[in-house]
Symmetry: C2
């Protein structure tokens, strides 16, 4: 499964969070990073090229900072110009081109998670505020998956940032809510890549997650054993 | 009360609905039309000028076509650049600059009203889809008023278009849900301007509305008379 990460940020070089995510992008041929403002510095979008890119990928990610409760203008321009009626809904001689793909939001949010509710400083939930993207996914036949909201990135500890990175990498390579087996496989891959003798932070968190997975497996196995014992009475 | 109508449309000259609304704009010093794409053809926004314009007006209208469940990119760029933290929320030496103003959306919508609900082709209500604008109004201390959604403008009859125009003009000059007295005054002004001997469509609808108002007044007066009669038993 190939993932297209469409990144929109008016000044990506100066964004600590975007640079952090970029630096940690999976080293995989199946993940394409596509920063819009850098690709089109004059703002002129190559619509055919964008439509080809979309066709070549199965998982579409919109990654952007949450400005005034939405995306930066460049991503909106991209939507308005690239997602034409014929491309998105199909024409006389062509099917809808996004149907069946997986869609994800990865959004860097300035305020705390708890402020996005009635009575909070932002007053509305992130689910409510992102309704336009849900409607777009629905109308084009894409599956709208659980987004990754990264709150107050600059204030996260190194450990918390690492956890975000793991969620991010898992989303890009496995989609959301991967199965236990898929998570286990991912963790084992990370462990294999990690030089255990000189463990860095990433390695430490990976090991920690590996332990979690093993614990979960152990619980499941224990429960199965219990059921078998009862059946065998 | 002064009204600033911030219009965003990537090709306003070719838009029948926008041209219709423009042609019918109230001939009043209290209403300022401000088409963003025409004012800034190179996309470079004069932030100071925009902030001054906002300060000079009490009622702020965002007028745009509903593309992918939101505004065109130029209006988003305007939000991101003009509504700075210090301007919108206040700084050490300045108050928040939008607080107390009235905010309205005037949105040209391609699909029918009934499609904007669960089970409809668009799947979400217009109230849900416009949450980001409600959150902006709330955060900046503006009153979010009942929007004017104009559905499938091109398919409206001349009579229906006239009705839309009247709603539009009333919104720009009186705000939403004006009192009966305010509506009556507006109608009388329109009637005064109308050459009754050569009645055009606009005049006809104005006369029709005048009749409605008079009927409403008559009902109210009748009810008051009834109450008086009962009291006098």
């Amino acid at each position: 499964m190939k993932t297209l990460v469409i990144v929109s940020h008016p000044d990506i070089e100066d964004s600590g969070s975007q640079q952090y995510l970029l630096s940690a992008r999976p080293d995989s041929e199946d993940v394409t990073f596509h920063p819009l403002e850098k690709t089109y510095p004059d703002g002129e979008i190559d619509v055919e090229r964008e439509q080809s890119l979309l066709k070549e990928h199965d998982r579409i990610v919109f990654q952007f900072p949450f400005y005034w409760y939405s995306s930066p203008p460049m991503l909106k321009k991209w939507q308005d110009e690239v997602l034409t009626d014929v491309f998105a809904f199909g024409g006389a001689y062509s099917p809808p081109q996004l149907k069946g793909k997986e869609f994800f939001l990865v959004v860097i949010v300035g305020a705390k998670e708890e402020e996005y509710q009635s009575g909070g400083r932002e007053g509305f939930s992130l689910s409510a505020l992102t309704t336009p993207f849900q409607a777009m996914a629905r109308k084009t036949g894409m599956t709208y998956n659980k987004p990754l909201f990264i709150h107050q990135f600059a204030y996260l500890s190194e450990q918390e940032k690492m956890r975000v990175l793991i969620q991010y990498q898992q989303l890009l390579t496995m989609g959301q809510t991967p199965t236990l087996a898929a998570r286990e496989e991912w963790i084992l891959e990370q462990l294999e890549k990690t030089n255990l003798s000189t463990l860095d932070d990433f390695g430490k968190v990976a090991v920690e997650h590996a332990s979690e997975v093993i614990e979960n497996n152990r619980l499941t196995l224990d429960e199965l054993q219990l059921m078998l014992d009862e059946l065998n009475g």
